[in-house]
Amino acid sequence: MKIQDIKESFFIAAWFILLTFPIMVIQVNPIENIIEWRWWNLILVGAGSFMLSFVWRYLMNRKAGQKRKESEDAEDIPLTQRLLRNPRFFVPALIVLGVFVFAFPFLFSAYQINIMTTALIYVVLGLGLNIVVGLAGLLDLGYVAFYAVGAYSYALLNHHFGLGFWTVLPVGAFMGAMFGVLLGFPVLRLRGDYLAIVTLGFGEIIRLILENWNAFSFGPSGIANIPRPGFFGVDFSLEASSRYLYFLMIAMALFTIFVVNRLQNSRIGRAWIALREDEIACQAMGIDKTKTKLTAFALGATWAGMVGVMFAAKTTFINPASFTFLESAIILSIVVLGGMGSIVGVIIGALVLILLPEYLRAFSEYRMLLFGAIMVIMMVFRPQGIISGVRRTYQFKGKGDKAVKTRETVKQPAPTTDHS
């Protein structure tokens, strides 16, 4: 068995040496017509892939083994879920977390506060997109467009009319919703990936218009000097204003969690999930497909619009470069990686994906390489996301009794690529 593994790893190492040979070893300089042979890399690749193949195999075996270990009757609930359900653990944990969240900006540097605020922005974005993708099952690759709408609403309204942050915050949310409906109407009858490409296109259209229509949006040079949110006219130092923004974002995130959680367990939320599962059956159950999808779309967009205002206020400068497709892709990754349909999952996903590149700064130029690799590895070894969604369950005592208690336990397998 061991010999077999080593053999296989040798083969893998040989394959990767061969595979990476031209790119890793040969460096051509067509301008000077020099070719440099970096043989040393060959050894690096060989040794690296040899080692990694063992790690990979180990992890693969573990993944397979994990399934096997759980016996037939064991409750199929992951540890995290069990902990979350246990009030003895849950309540103190929540308190500790609350204290930490509150103390955070007083313990860490402005930089840490700043990136945490950014991460919180993405938490809200992720939760917003989760409504669209995770609950309603509409693959939206242009979500960042609504974020841009919010950000530009603030920047432009402030620039032209001097409107303040608090005035524009609801306006931004409203504009997001408007654009959500605007896009939603024509395209919601599209299925799956066709919807994906159209939303991607829509996202690009918005960005391109912002980039090209100078008279309206100031083009690629963007809008500067956007004021930070005010607090009864108090002027803040950088440090203090970072803290203020942080707490604003915490509040916004809590608000989002509250609303999304309620929506998810409501009549509308159920309709979204049902729509994701089977459109035809849904209609046959009396659900208006278009209206329901549209609400999901518009609601998702509302959060993006709202948090877009926040974004503009935080960076104090915006230009179209912040709203590229890659941004949408990252937000989508947050949702999927965290675990579709799970609020806790999305929060963790956002923290991981946004803080990761920041903490990977230590690896300087290898930062994004590692980031990409980690995305792949996380998906391969945890395809259902960090935390998988759960369905609400109800307890009944007996015939004719009222539902007495509600809690979430049944693990919800995300929809698979089943062709049946």
């Binding site: 609303v259 309620r262 929506l263 409501s266 009549r267 509308i268 939320g269 159920r270 309709a271 999930i273 049902a274 599962e277 089977d278 035809i280 059956a281 849904c282 209609q283 046959a284 159950m285 009396g286 659900i287 208006d288 497909k289 609400t295 609601l299 369905r391 609400r392 369950t393 109800y394 009944f396 015939k399 004719g400 009222k402 539902a403 336990t409 049944v410 919800q412 397998p413 995300a414 929809p415």
Partner: protein, 262 residues
């Protein structure tokens, strides 16, 4: 007898293929009717046409819900048809597989409840009451259908027969006056079929819901139906009581075969 569903001259073409051919049909209030016919006769297509999934090439579909006005419903979207009180099940089971059994039924209550986004967020007393009522009513239906022990199971993990019953439960949750069942007994063993038989009778007798079922299990059809319609090649070739149909030579030739195992 007061008809609650009247179909006149219903025709459906798929390209060159005429799946329904000038079909006329009536269902009376409180009736259990059956629609039978060879494979490919157009039975499922008939369901699809009257429930708004397909738009028929021509013809009229008129409903007269008890206590409400007569209404022409062709061209309505499926959800509107359901709102007006016609619910259905599917030949290939179409549940919401990763929702729980209770939630599947709760979805059926959707068109009979109203709370919107604001209600969901603020969760005022009205919404809470409505939600509680949805849960209670859904559970009640599940109990009636003998599914209460599965409430919190995911629909996809249910045995086949239970899934069929769940589909019926879900349809009942929409408070229909007429339920259309497409091969409800398919994949059930005789024992389960017998239970289904009893269940359908109970639905009619206790809830006062009329039923139209498509079925190939003649034993079930003959024992349940008040009236049977027979289709072949998109046309109605016969109609009558089980006795009449059993002995109708046209039906025997086209569908039943020489002897019946009933």
């Amino acid at each position: 007898m007061e008809p609650i569903l009247e179909v006149k001259d219903l025709t459906m073409d798929f390209g060159g293929l005429r799946a329904l051919d000038h079909l006329d049909l009536e269902i009376d209030r409180g009736e259990i009717a059956a629609l039978i016919g060879p494979n490919g006769a157009g039975k499922t297509t008939f369901f699809n046409c009257i429930t708004g999934i397909y738009i028929p090439t021509r013809g009229d579909v008129v409903i007269s819900p008890p206590g409400k006005k007569r209404e022409r419903i062709n061209g309505l979207k499926p959800n509107h048809v359901t709102e007006r009180g016609m619910a259905r099940t599917f030949q290939n089971i179409r549940l919401f597989p990763s929702m729980t059994v209770l939630e599947n039924v709760m979805i059926g209550r959707h068109c009979r409840t109203r709370s919107g986004i604001a209600g969901a967020v603020f969760r005022g007393p009205g919404t809470r009451e409505e939600e509680q009522a949805v849960v209670d009513k859904s559970y009640e239906i599940l109990e009636k259908m003998g599914l209460s022990r599965f409430v919190n199971e995911l629909a996809r993990n249910l045995p086949y027969g239970a899934q069929r019953r769940l589909e019926i439960a879900r349809a009942m949750a929409t408070e229909p006056f007429l339920i259309l069942l497409d091969e409800p007994a398919a994949g059930m063993n005789p024992q389960e079929t017998y239970e289904l038989d009893q269940l359908i009778l109970r639905i009619r007798d206790e809830e006062g819901i009329s039923l139209l079922l498509i079925e190939h299990d003649m034993q079930l059809v003959m024992s349940l139906s008040d009236r049977i319609f027979v289709m072949d090649y998109g046309k109605k070739i016969a109609q009558g009581t089980p006795e009449e149909i059993k002995n109708n030579p046209v039906v025997i030739k086209a569908y039943l075969g020489e002897e019946i195992d009933a």
